[in-house]
């Protein structure tokens, strides 16, 4: 009997050990990723324009393309990538416990997330901000005219606090209509239970696009909060943070320099007048590239397989998509926006 129980407990321990499939983290994330053969990227469970599966079940979107860019930089193949769908509640633990290599899930860069949660935001790929949407027939032109309005708002989010701050600062009264989810908010807004709907402007645009007559609704020009969204990694592996950071920068710089997925192969095969283009595309040596452990054509792979920042924006969020966002703050700095990559030098 004792032998039996010992055998049982031994078997149990072995099974648990097997299930845990202990893969102790080795020296660096890059080595882990290389050894595994694919990148594991944390993405949203579904957010219009940023991450959503297409009809064939392939995840597409603005945030997803940041993951693809990093995979292209590391492997030369944007598809060597697995996604992990994370909710607002599970995303940071998943990153900190090394379930994922990087997080690209419309996450606002804040002090406490950066410092207290020991995460490293490597850049900003979308400048979002809270705005208002109102029916056109209400005749409101700016948020300053919203005194006394009823506002549909998702509870328990920072948008709730921003809204209160905005109305208090402007000495206006409002009537909050608390709502749990975005779909619910949309239904309530369309049913006329509130005069205005407030959330991040990218979300407003998506909601507006999902109505039967988008032209009946206007997104008001005011932005009442700063929501800089960007990809992030864990503290403690600066090489990996650099890889993700410069993958994003390569997309941004490529747009500024006029390198697109169409012309990148051609530009990479000859000497260009712009020395920075040469360095970006590996025509000339970019000092320190080996330290990142990347191949010479890493940026070429990103741009050829994923596209430059502007292309990715237009593909998922831009005027030709149902969402129809304009570049706004997300235009290149040369066009009056905030999108700006440090020099490749």
């Amino acid at each position: 009997m004792r032998i039996l129980s010992r055998a049982l407990s031994g078997g149990l321990a072995a099974a648990v050990g097997l299930a845990m499939a202990v893969s102790m983290a080795s020296a660096g994330t890059l080595d882990d990723v290389r050894q595994r053969g694919h990148l594991i990227c944390g993405i949203n469970t579904g957010l219009v324009g940023f991450a959503a599966p297409d009809d064939k079940g392939v995840w597409k979107g603005f945030d997803v393309d940041v993951c693809r860019a990093v995979a292209a930089a590391v492997f030369g193949d944007a598809n060597k990538l697995r996604y992990k769908n994370l909710t607002g509640k599970t995303r940071f633990t998943a990153l900190r416990s090394a379930e994922i290599d990087m997080l690209s899930r419309n996450t606002t860069w804040t002090f406490s997330r950066d410092v207290d949660l020991q995460l490293t935001f490597v850049g900003i790929n979308y400048y979002d901000g809270q705005g208002f949407m109102a029916p056109k027939k209400l005749g409101v032109k700016s948020a300053g005219e919203l005194a006394g309005a009823s506002v549909c708002i998702q509870t328990g989010t920072t948008t709730e606090l921003n809204l209160a701050d905005f109305f208090r600062a402007n000495n206006m009264k409002y009537e909050p209509v608390p709502i749990e989810t975005n779909a619910e908010a949309r239904t309530n807004y369309l049913a006329g239970r509130c005069d205005v709907y407030t959330t991040d402007r990218s979300g407003l645009a998506a909601t507006r696009a999902a109505t039967d007559n988008p032209d009946d609704h206007v997104v008001l020009p005011e932005i009442i909060s700063k929501e800089p969204l960007g990809p992030l990694v864990r503290h403690g592996d600066d090489q990996w943070a650099d890889i993700v950071r410069w993958s994003l920068n390569a997309m941004i710089a490529a747009e500024e320099m006029g390198v697109t997925s169409k012309n990148v192969k051609e530009m990479a095969s000859k000497e260009n007048k712009n020395k920075e283009v040469n360095r970006l595309l590996g025509v000339e040596e970019l000092q320190g590239r080996e330290r990142l452990g990347l191949s010479k054509d890493w940026a070429v792979n990103i741009i050829a397989q994923v596209g430059n920042y502007g292309e990715v924006f237009e593909k998922h969020l831009g005027k030709k998509t149902p969402i129809g966002l304009d570049r706004g703050l997300n235009a290149q700095w040369t066009d009056g926006g905030l999108i700006y990559a440090p020099p490749f030098r």
């Binding site: 845990m20 219009v48 599966p53 992990k84 909710t87 509640k89 599970t90 416990s97 039967d212």
Partner: protein, 373 residues
């Protein structure tokens, strides 16, 4: 008061044949009069109700069928074709609703697993199944077989648990939870009544702690807190963690349902078993447990149905159950805004499975004639 003479024949007292009821008091007309048109107010109410039902039913049929669009490339496309439901979103994405992101060329595996579920369940659920005793061995082997088929290994390509989603995930959670929690719940119920102090205290503590915590908390423990306890870099699959939590949760509730059954048996049954000199396990297995389980059926099925529906909570920790798939599908700019259609579709699926479970339990109750007690 004298009645006017009539031409009707006279009968001896007590021999008068039964007359038909007065016209308008029986049959369809009688029923209508009594129930729908008994007064002016009721008549008005009847007309209003009929009008309301007519309006609702025609509108529903219009929306569900007549004006509905079955084939379209996007929501905008749907709206151009008709004003009703846009079932095209379901038609286009039905694979995702059923399998999640399970690779298309491997989908025969979950299908086979699902088909094999029936021969595995039949001998357990229906005592008149032919070859029952042989099939029971198959039922015992089924969990391992199903896990192998769905996950792979040993010759089959491995499919990561991340890829499971939709109804497949609901079935995995539901079936595993139900099958694994049943024995555990029974053991806990027996343990709670045990004479051994340590066993009893352990069981009571477990049941009370788990029952005192919402399932969503256990899921958060599974998805986030365990990560902090396990050594960094360990990859203990999230789905397995969730399955364990769901099973423990259901087992605690089940234990209480079974305990109710055990306590409903009269004391005499225990004493009779003791007086026959049966050992504890023989007494439990042959005398008390069969009776207790019979009584506990409604409560147990209640727990199972609850567990099955609660499995949708995993959407909060990022697993793509049907609700998660719906969220993902609706996040596609092409289909954004069709929440009514997708959620109705999911509701239909859940209703069918839960209704089947509750019908089975009714059948079983009738078969074991629980009501006789």
């Amino acid at each position: 008061m004298s009645l006017p003479a009539t031409a009707s024949p006279t009968y001896p007292p007590g021999q008068h044949p039964d007359l038909p009821p007065p016209p308008g008091s029986a049959g369809v007309v009688g029923w209508l009069r009594a129930n729908l048109f008994s007064s002016v107010f009721n008549t008005a109410l009847t007309f209003v109700s009929v009008w309301l039902i007519y309006e609702f039913v025609t509108a529903a049929i219009d929306w569900f069928v007549l004006e509905a669009v079955w084939e379209a490339g996007s929501r905008v496309d749907c709206r151009k074709q008709g004003d009703g439901a846009c079932w095209a979103v379901i038609a286009t994405r039905v694979d995702q609703f059923v399998y999640g992101f399970y690779p298309a060329d491997q989908r025969w595996r979950p299908v086979l697993t699902f088909v094999l579920l029936f021969p595995a369940l039949a001998p357990v659920l229906f005592d008149r199944t032919p070859y029952r005793s042989q099939l029971l061995w198959f039922s015992l082997a089924y969990p391992a077989l199903g896990a192998w088929l769905i996950h792979g290994g040993l010759g089959l390509p491995v499919v990561d648990t991340d890829a499971y989603g939709g109804f497949l995930l609901t079935m995995i959670l539901g079936v595993t939870g139900i099958v694994a929690s049943l024995p555990l719940g029974i053991l806990l119920a027996l343990g709670r009544q045990s004479q051994l102090l340590v066993v009893r205290v352990l069981c009571v503590t477990f049941i009370e702690v788990v029952r005192g915590v919402p399932l969503i908390t256990l899921l958060f423990i599974a998805s986030t807190m365990l990560n902090y306890f396990l050594p960094p870099g360990t990859n203990f699959d999230l789905l397995i963690r969730v399955l364990i939590m769901v099973t423990l949760f259901a087992a605690a509730y089940l234990a209480e349902a079974v305990r109710g059954g055990l306590q409903a048996i009269s004391r005499g049954q225990y004493e009779a078993a003791d007086s026959l000199g049966l050992s504890y396990w023989k007494k439990t297995w042959l005398i008390t447990l069969p009776q207790a389980l019979k009584i506990a059926i409604p409560g147990m099925v209640n727990v199972f149905i609850g567990l099955y529906k609660d499995s949708t909570l995993v959407v909060i920790i990022g697993l793509l159950d049907p609700l998660g798939v719906a969220r993902a599908v609706l996040a596609d700019a092409k289909w954004n805004g069709l929440s009514n259609e997708t959620y109705l579709f999911i509701a239909l699926f859940f209703f069918m499975s839960c209704f089947a479970m509750s019908r089975y339990s009714l059948w079983l109750e009738g078969r074991l004639s629980v009501g006789d007690r």
